[in-house]
């Protein structure tokens, strides 16, 4: 313990607690390095998850197309991996040189986990090399299964690495309550520090978020290649790849708010003031921006599906429904974006006639917002269902009954969402919070049961014609770019929210930030920083993908089998 304190003292005495970075300052330097490292890390952790799933579909579904797709995903991964490591090194060097006292404090607690982290990173790298370079060598029989297991192992390493890094950042947010400013860092048990309030919620939230992010970036890559394609077959391949990327991103996005809700609840349980700062304090406007971004995601995702129906024979039957889906999505987005509790000055309060706007205040509460977002999720699922059924006619004898049951499930789910949404206005807050569970439960149950029925109904279905992959107007591809930019920006925004609620603390209520940059900036400045990071990240990704294209020709194969059915 004394050794640790002496180390801290020595660092503080000889190097000072802080150093500054030229021109942009130490906070901006750390912000950029951490953010871009995280964006690359999210990509290289998310893509292996669905690469291994695609490979499994290829193996067990005996469809080479998915195997090739998985390999192409992994090729992107290989190139992005070194960028992740480089930005990680930049981040660590900046942290240790600009914030030496804080760095000494963290290493005093988490030193052993950092050694493990590096070791696993090493294993992960070599597993990735084996996984990619062994693809064509271990292609058949038992060797292919072994190869697939390498993919699983790659995911295990990646998940452990992420869990370790998450323990550091969550400790900064929610250190165990028995640790105080006077506690010597070397006396803190490492597992005690790791198992803090928000560790597991962040782990789960990031795991899902990485899949969403990876899907979106893959979608953008595919759309880039689609627009640059010179042959019909190449265009068809990248159209399909873009569809798969978008499908993965949107599917995981539907689950993400539930993980976010758990994380938010844990933050409130740990420290109410931190939760209030996040939702109703100086960050309250952030959620209006978030609602706008998610509205863009829902609208762009659905737009892509609706445009995509143009290449499916038989889809014209469902086209009239899309305008009503659009109405629900727009109304839902407007309600979700309605501010409720805002920090307002006396002039603004007087103009509103109270602490809440008389009209909008009623729509800004969680009852209305939960109702809106659940209906938006249901609408998006319905869009996907229509897309999925576009080119088939069910032949099972109970097809009509099944469709009616599905419609009934949608109506019941929507009714449950609306009922609890309205009832929420008439009950205590503590009861109202519990209603969101019923709303979410109804929507999830609808999604699961309707999907099961749909899969059973599609057995032996009559095809109305193969999907004409590649017959997509270019404007649909720009929707995929907007999705990728928005997902990336949203990730930066949520990172700012998570980190910013610590306000002027390096470690919440234990180690204070005493730099000139200690005040948490307003959203305007944060937005400029986020946009800068997104621009750097996307520029690098674009460059890396271009390099990848130079190094290796596309792995797409000419179509020898009928294009896979959507959603399969």
């Amino acid at each position: 313990m004394a050794g640790g304190m002496m180390l801290l003292q020595a660092v503080a005495d000889t190097a000072g607690a802080y150093r500054d970075f030229p021109l942009i300052g130490s906070r901006a330097a750390i912000w950029i390095a951490a953010e871009i490292h995280l964006m690359f890390a999210a990509f290289v952790l998310g893509v292996p998850i669905f690469a291994v799933v695609a490979e499994a579909i290829g193996i067990f579904g005996k469809d080479q197309r998915y195997d090739r797709l998985a390999k192409e995903f992994t090729r992107l991964l290989l190139i992005a991996y070194s960028a992740t490591a480089i930005w990680g090194a930049v981040f660590v060097f900046l942290l240790s040189t600009l914030y030496p006292r804080f760095w000494a404090y963290m290493t005093a607690i988490f030193g052993p986990s950092m050694w493990v982290y590096v070791s696993i990173f090493f294993f992960e790298s070599f597993t990735l090399y084996l996984y990619y370079y062994g693809w064509d060598r271990w292609k058949y029989g038992r060797a292919k299964i072994v190869h697939w297991c390498l993919g699983i192992l790659l995911n295990i390493w990646g998940t452990i690495v992420m869990f370790i890094a998450d323990s550091w950042l969550t400790y900064m947010m929610t250190p165990p309550r028995d640790i105080t400013a006077e506690t010597s860092p070397t006396s803190i048990k490492i597992w005690h520090a790791i198992l803090n309030h928000t560790w597991m919620p962040i782990n789960i939230h990031r795991l899902i978020g990485n899949v969403v992010f990876g899907g979106a970036i893959v979608g953008a890559y595919a759309s880039y290649r689609f627009l640059a394609a010179r042959t019909e077959e190449e265009r068809a391949h990248y159209d399909w790849m873009g569809y798969v990327g978008n499908f993965i991103a949107m599917s995981a996005l539907i689950v993400l708010p539930f993980a976010g809700y758990w994380l938010g609840r844990e933050i409130y349980q740990y420290d109410q003031s931190m939760g209030i700062t996040m939702m109703g304090g100086f960050m309250s406007w952030l959620w209006v921006i978030q609602a706008f971004l998610i509205a863009v995601l829902f609208l762009a995702g659905n737009y892509y599906l609706w445009v995509g129906m143009g290449r499916i024979p038989g889809a014209e039957r469902f086209r009239p429904y899309t305008k009503w889906l659009l109405v629900v999505l727009v109304l839902g987005a407007l309600v979700w974006g309605t501010p409720h509790t805002m920090i307002a000055d006396s002039r603004e309060l007087a103009a509103m006639g109270g602490s809440h706007h008389p009209l909008l205040g009623a729509l800004g509460v969680m009852s209305a917002k939960n109702t809106a977002v659940n209906l938006m999720i249901l609408s998006t699922f319905l869009s996907f269902l229509l897309y999925r059924r576009a080119n088939i006619r069910q032949v099972v004898p109970w097809a009509k009954t099944g469709t009616r049951i599905q419609a009934g499930m949608f109506v019941i789910a929507a009714a449950i969402v609306l009922f609890f949404g309205i009832r929420g206005y008439f009950v205590e807050a503590i009861v109202r919070i519990g209603y969101s569970v019923y709303q979410v439960g109804a929507v999830l149950a609808c999604i699961i049961f309707v999907t099961v029925i749909d899969v059973l109904m599609a057995r032996g279905a009559q095809s109305l014609g193969a999907i004409q992959w590649g017959r997509m107007p270019p404007r649909s591809q720009y929707a995929l770019f907007i999705l990728a930019v928005t997902f990336t920006w949203l990730m930066g925004l949520m990172g700012f929210a998570r980190s910013g609620i610590r306000q002027h603390w390096h470690v919440w209520q234990i180690m204070q930030d005493t730099t000139p940059y200690a005040a948490t900036p307003a959203l305007g400045y944060a937005a400029i920083m986020i946009s800068t990071c997104v621009l750097i990240f996307l520029s690098l990704v674009g460059f890396i993908f271009w390099l990848g294209g130079l190094a290796e020709k596309s792995t797409f194969v000419p179509s020898t089998v009928e294009a896979p059915h959507v959603g399969q």
């Binding site: 400013a181 880039y224 627009l227 640059a228 420290d271 109410q272 003031s273 209030i276 700062t277 109703g280 304090g281 100086f282 406007w285 209006v288 921006i289 706008f292 971004l293 509790t341 805002m342 920090i343 602490s355 807050a429 270019p474 720009y478 770019f481 907007i482 930019v485 928005t486 920006w489 910013g500 306000q503 002027h504 209520q509 204070q512 930030d513 005493t514 200690a518 005040a519 948490t520 900036p521 307003a522 959203l523 305007g524 944060a526 937005a527 400029i528 986020i530 946009s531 997104v534 621009l535 996307l538």
Partner: protein, 267 residues
């Protein structure tokens, strides 16, 4: 090919610009750092109230809940016909006067939770220094009650919020009113309005200074500030000894002269 690339770049840049623009168009609220307070042994209630006011409306983060009327009781306005917090704080908990109750509410908020509200108040002792806590107590008392926080309540500066950053608020600046020579800033910073009325501001414990220039010369005003008990205004005999005698030490020469000339000119 290049046309495609340019369109992609335009879509990416346009989307980024749109999000950045929207985020810059909404109200910009920055989370401020609560600066350390250095309160001297002669700190006045007015200095405490001023520092507490700044904390309450700024870095203390109090307004995120208090004042909305839903999460936590309103403190600066009436609450259930009991008046603002300074008027009702002494009646909240039996056996606890206003000062003790407010201190407990800030440092051990779960010890007593006002009926009808959730125990969501954070322990401010983990966030603010003792000096800042006492400044908040004084500010809350001043809203409808009497400030009885004194320098003897406040321990020497230390604690988690102590920082090398320059102090903000009335108490932390060098000398009274941060060394300002603006007469009204000095009057407010020195706490004159705690007892004296100047224009529309101030109390009625001491003589009204609004037209003091018509009663006293500049030399007499200077003498009253430096040695307040040498001349006692008619009708205020019972308050002899109340006026602090340390202004000669705390005001700079320039401040004293600015104040004297200002008061003398008010005829």
């Amino acid at each position: 090919m290049w046309a495609n690339n340019l369109r992609i770049i335009a879509v990416v840049l346009g989307t980024l610009a749109l999000y950045t623009l929207i985020a810059n168009k909404i109200p910009q609220v920055q989370s401020e750092v609560p600066h350390a307070l250095t309160l001297g042994a002669n700190v006045t209630p007015e200095q405490l109230v001023s520092a507490g006011d700044q904390l309450y409306h700024g870095a203390g983060g109090c307004t995120a809940c208090h004042g909305l009327g839903t999460r936590a009781p309103n403190l600066l306005t009436d609450e259930k016909a009991q008046g603002p917090i300074g008027a009702r704080c002494g009646k909240r908990e039996s056996g606890k006067d206003c000062k003790a109750y407010l201190y407990e509410s800030l440092t051990s908020p779960k010890a007593f939770v006002v009926p009808g509200y959730e125990p969501i108040m954070p322990e401010m002792g983990r966030i603010l220094s003792p000096q800042q806590i006492w400044a908040l107590v004084a500010f809350l008392e001043s809203n409808g009650g009497t400030v009885d926080v004194t320098a003897s309540d406040i321990p020497p500066a230390s604690g988690p919020a102590a920082s090398p950053a320059p102090a903000a608020g009335g108490g932390g600046a060098p000398g009274i009113a941060g060394g300002s020579t603006d007469p009204m800033t000095i009057i407010r910073g020195a706490g004159c309005t705690g007892c004296h009325k100047v224009g529309n501001e101030g109390g009625a414990i001491g003589p009204n200074l609004t037209h003091v220039g018509s009663r006293l010369s500049a030399a007499l005003i200077r003498e009253c500030i430096l040695r307040p008990d040498t001349r006692v205004a008619k009708g205020y005999e019972k308050f002899v000894g109340v006026m602090p005698k340390m202004f000669g030490n705390q005001l700079s020469g320039a401040q004293l002269e600015a104040l004297v000339q200002f008061l003398a000119s008010h005829k």
